[in-house]
Amino acid sequence: MMSSMIEVEVTKVKQLTDVIREFTLSPMEGALPGFSSGSHIQLHLPTSHRVLKKAYSLLSDPADTSSYRIAVRLQEHSKGGSRFMHEGLSEGDHLHITPPSNLFAPNSSARHHLLIAGGIGITPFLSYLAEFQRQSKSYELHYAYRGGVTDAYVTDLRQAFSAKLHTYDSNLQQRLDLDQLLSNQSVGTHVYVCGPERLRHSVQEAATKNAWSPSRIHWEAFSGAEPGQAFQVELARLNKTLEVSADESLLEALEASGVEIPNLCRGGVCGQCATTYLEGDVDHRDAFLSQADQSQQLMPCVSRGMCGSRIVLDL
């Protein structure tokens, strides 16, 4: 069942850098639902031609449910979501959001938390830090960014958490040596990565090199679906055919035609939207289904039919 939506008001918009904006979302009345560190919400954005659904990490303190805060980086190749957030949303506007869900919670049995953030990937960790401080957890934060562009929050972090903070500004050629970092951790450490794909790959590469168990590595893909080529989809049971354009995801196309599919992350990681397909050449882009599962299922939030092809879904 789809979660019920919550109406909120944008009560504060703060430009943090040239490309990063922070939004405070307040309830129309009372308090918002509680959440745990690492949670995200989906925003439904009424852009000019369609309602876009975008997932953003909550960066505020989980103890504070009087409002939620999120931060959005303007993406150069925005499909409309980040551009709408930067150019179409002002204080006083109303939005619909989903209640928070969590796909990136800290491991409760870890003895040390090693957080690695790249740019806007800092957001989920901001909600971790408040909780870690309260619970006196052992942690360290490694934050890589481009100074003046993606270094939102670095000043606040330096003030509040200087002893645990390590920063790397690419403008100053400061590099994070992941191999060295991961080779020096004792059993009980879990690593968390949030940032660009290449950062996650580098962490996974260094972890593999140092024989880390995959169960110690946690990551969040904060990027949404990448565009692709147009293709056709047939819904076998509904006896319907849809055209999916190059700049929309299969999930968006299904939703636009009135087919609701349960979903949480819209980024290929949670597995909620996995749908059985009957035939077709699928470009699997998720990080959830096993290879065996991918022969029968696809995740419409990110995966697509191959260019110009036709896929048949069991819907």
Partner: protein, 174 residues
Amino acid sequence: METECQNRLPSQPIYAQSIPQLDVRVLISIIQDADHPKAIELVSMVNALPSSRVFTNVKWEAGVIDPSLKDALQKTPVGSHLVLCGDERFIWSCWSVANQAGWLNDEMTLLKTEHVRNLYCVHCGQIQPITTQAEVICQACQVKLFVRDHFSQRLGAYMGVCLDANQPYGGDVK
């Protein structure tokens, strides 16, 4: 890895049938009885590895392990592997210490030597050692127990439940 039984409950422990070939940073082996054939085979294999530490004839009681070993388990770098070699009581006693130190299941190989295991009575909470028997009388409450395959990692014990619903109390066992 080969397993002992294909039709097992999800909670039932998996013991290695052979010693796996491992490409890890540090290999720690904790051995209950150095004279057991499996232990001898393990030691001869791990001694050939560059970063191997072997603890033999380890002193232990339920959940209480030699403090120096506990310290070693906490300071090991991530990327290491642990082999626990002994009977099931020994293995799960060590597992509990390793788990608290932060070791994960996929970083441990469990090499069972003897059929000595713990049974937890769900009626009174008593934990007692048993071997392969399927029916046991609880040492504490005297209820006749059926030994289930269901296993608790936290308790390091199999589950014992009342065998005969018509005889739910101990003391009147014929």
